[in-house]
Symmetry: C2
Subunit: 229 residues, 2 copies
């Protein structure tokens, strides 16, 4: 049975020793909605875990369903084999929004939205929760795709390891806007401002073996990442 | 004195227990040139380290100079204070190049180039190496900017912690091209192919307090990230 319960109904995450934003704490955000928007816009997370005292950070795709993040992969994956044992993980998602160009080298910065999640991942055993997670996963990356693709077979589901990480301890860090220069520097003859960066979809490339008569779906043609309304 | 020596002159990184690409090992690359191209194209790295058994992953900007990666920040930063003690770190840079849209949900994938670096960071004490590192840092993010900005003062240099991570143990993982579907699925009526993703610069936004008569520099106007020639 798929657990539909929310792990917590609080709208902000409690601040702990781990998730507290230390540097420039005014950029710290603990609001669940903001954090979920960042998670929903990102495509790749970075999963940090420890093996014999050694940190590993592995980029991987993910999906969110309610108050859980799902990652998946092959049962042969070192990362997933480690994580399913119930070890502490640190998951980050970073969206880079722009370069902040200050008059002084010292005050150059970046505009970004990042999320850090702490917790322990666990194996999703239940076949229907697994399928729901894979659906959330696919729809997270390409909204509209799940119903327009061959569904996973029983074998494929069995051959996929899915891990679930509860969203109970998380925080976001956000910087927006113009540079903050030293007052004396504002009159200097250097350009300053923000150079916004965007992740955009370029022209889709059809598979060379595409079957005849298949049109480009709208959800591919109009793919864009930005914030969902 | 600035150390100009190369830490190693080998053109490929030795494969170790840590940097070996385990999953889909044919995607593993140990060639220094490819790894440096990925590092030079990226803007943000993810720094993983361990504090009391707990993994932390922190996104941060970086620069490369020769066979070293530099990160910097405030002396008050928890991350930098931890790292300067000489702990093991895992640094990753991930470039997302596209979504791989397969006929089956199971074979969806992403095209990406990622680098993982293992090692121990050390504090850059020498003031001139620090300045060289900050220059590399700035030029890494905005080529052309260093000579068109107010240089750091002695105080700013003293108030910046710079750490250096030797590039001695690294690997890359790269996926390109079309989806790989099961043979039986190629005739299915679903669109398949690649949706390329690009990080582009949008219209620059001048600082509201920009001094009169300052033109937009060419290196901002023509900013693009792709692979440097």
């Amino acid at each position: 049975m798929i657990s539909q319960e929310n792990l917590t109904t609080t709208e902000t995450f409690p601040i702990t020793a781990r998730n507290q934003v230390k540097r420039i704490s005014k950029r710290g955000i603990y609001d669940r909605q903001t954090i979920y928007q960042i998670l929903d816009e990102g495509l790749i997370c970075q999963l940090g875990f420890v093996v014999d005292g050694q940190p590993f950070v592995i980029p991987t795709a993910y999906g969110r369903m309610g108050d859980r993040i799902y990652v998946h992969g092959s049962p042969a994956s070192r990362m997933l084999r480690t994580l399913k044992q119930g070890v502490q993980v640190c998951l980050t998602v970073t969206l880079l929004d722009g370069l902040v160009v200050a008059r002084s080298a010292f005050h150059h910065s970046m505009n970004y939205r990042s999320v850090v999640v702490f917790g322990m991942a666990s194996l999703v055993d239940d076949a229907s929760e697994k399928v729901e997670a894979l659906k959330a996963f696919t729809e997270h990356i390409i909204p509209g795709r799940w119903s327009d693709t061959r569904q996973p077979t029983r074998q494929e589901i069995a051959g996929t390891l899915v891990l679930s990480l509860p969203l109970t301890e998380a925080s976001a860090k956000v910087r927006t806007g113009s540079p903050h220069d030293d007052e004396a520097d504002y009159s200097l003859p250097f350009w300053a401002g923000e150079l916004p960066l965007r992740l955009i979809a370029a022209e889709p490339v059809s598979d060379p073996r595409l079957a005849d008569g298949i049109e480009l779906p709208t959800y591919i043609q109009k793919y864009s990442r930005g914030i969902r309304e």
